[in-house]
């Protein structure tokens, strides 16, 4: 799994780089598309023209890799929810913790920086 940078600003460069990946994730807000994705994830990724790296990140659920390839968490979260994964789970992935450890860090007042 890819190691996360501090943050992933969704600027115009990331918008260009992640266009297909974000478009695909966005489509999952429709129930019919959620079913079609689940039936054949690889074919569904191809429909949206994901790069081989983006497709690999999606199929392997490399959540940090998706961000490195231009994904935005507001978009990839729709895939996480389809998998039954919470924002605490994703927070754990980005920070090297389990979902439970991450949730506990939040209950303890959150993570402090600087």
């Amino acid at each position: 799994m890819t190691k996360a940078r501090d943050d992933y600003p969704l600027d115009l460069r990331a918008s260009r780089q992640g266009y297909a990946l974000n478009k695909m994730c966005l489509s999952l807000k429709d129930e019919r598309n959620r079913r079609r994705f689940t039936e054949d994830e690889s074919a569904y990724c191809d429909e949206f023209g994901l790069s081989p790296e983006q497709k690999k990140a999606i199929l392997e659920r490399d959540w940090t890799g998706m961000l490195e390839l231009g994904g935005s968490v507001f978009y990839t979260y729709k895939l996480a929810m389809l998998d039954g994964k919470s924002m605490q789970y994703l927070g754990g992935v980005f920070t090297g913790m389990t979902a439970e450890e991450f949730a506990e860090a939040m209950r303890s007042g959150g993570r402090k920086f600087g």
Binding site: R5, D6, Y8, P9, K23, R34, L67, S72, F102, G109
Partner: protein, 284 residues
Amino acid sequence: MARVIWGLATSHVPSIGAAMDNGKTAEPYWKPLFDGYAPAREWMAGHRPDVAVIVYNDHANALDLDLVPTFAVGTAESYEVADEGWGRRPVPPVAGAPELSEHLVRRLVDDSFDIATFHGLDVDHGLTVPLSVYCPDPGEQWPCPVVPVLVNVIRHPQPTAARCYALGQAIGRAIRSFPEDLGVAVFGTGGMSHQLAGARAGLINTPFDRMFLEKIETDPEALARLTREEYVAQAGTEGIELIMWLVMRGAMDERITRIHETYHVPASNTAAGLALFENGGAPA
């Protein structure tokens, strides 16, 4: 003439809505937050507005990266509740206030705010959670119609905090020139400090949030001077949503009266804040 009667600044975290939708507000995780809301809710229930102007951002539900308006106003007669990928919230559709919307659009454009308009708009948690914070049990319909005001806080470059404050001032002028006797509530939503993605995920900056909660009343100009980069560094990638509180503040008088505030960590991966202000200074 219409007038702004109160302003509500509140977080709009989806899980706050889900806690209400799933009857979890009395559970230990959520109880402190909802107990903190109670005095504000009681006061607002006794001061019902005729219309609410709700400043919020869409989270990849009505909008995607094809078209990202910096500022937009909804102009429809009603707004459906968005399916954000896990089914619609079980709350009523949102009635619009199209005549007030039209007036705001015209006045804002004349005031040099070149805003976009939405005639078709599914509203997501950014708008419906603040409505639920105001009114937890709406029944068949929300207590008042709504004018949605959308701000791009997700895709860089977001508008400056100063521009958001100025937009709020223009919205205030526009409301005060609407020739109907309406009491208007203005909601500024989002925040407080939080970051969802990257190695800084889980960031909470309580000293910054406390400072913001104070200065939103007493020194909004200082908050308007903070740069985009300062908001992101201090409050997190998504904490920049706080610039939408400045739109609400700008629409209100220079002097406002704090009715209630509450602050709680965590709500999901965020610091949840609420501040309720009556417009104008304290009665003598």
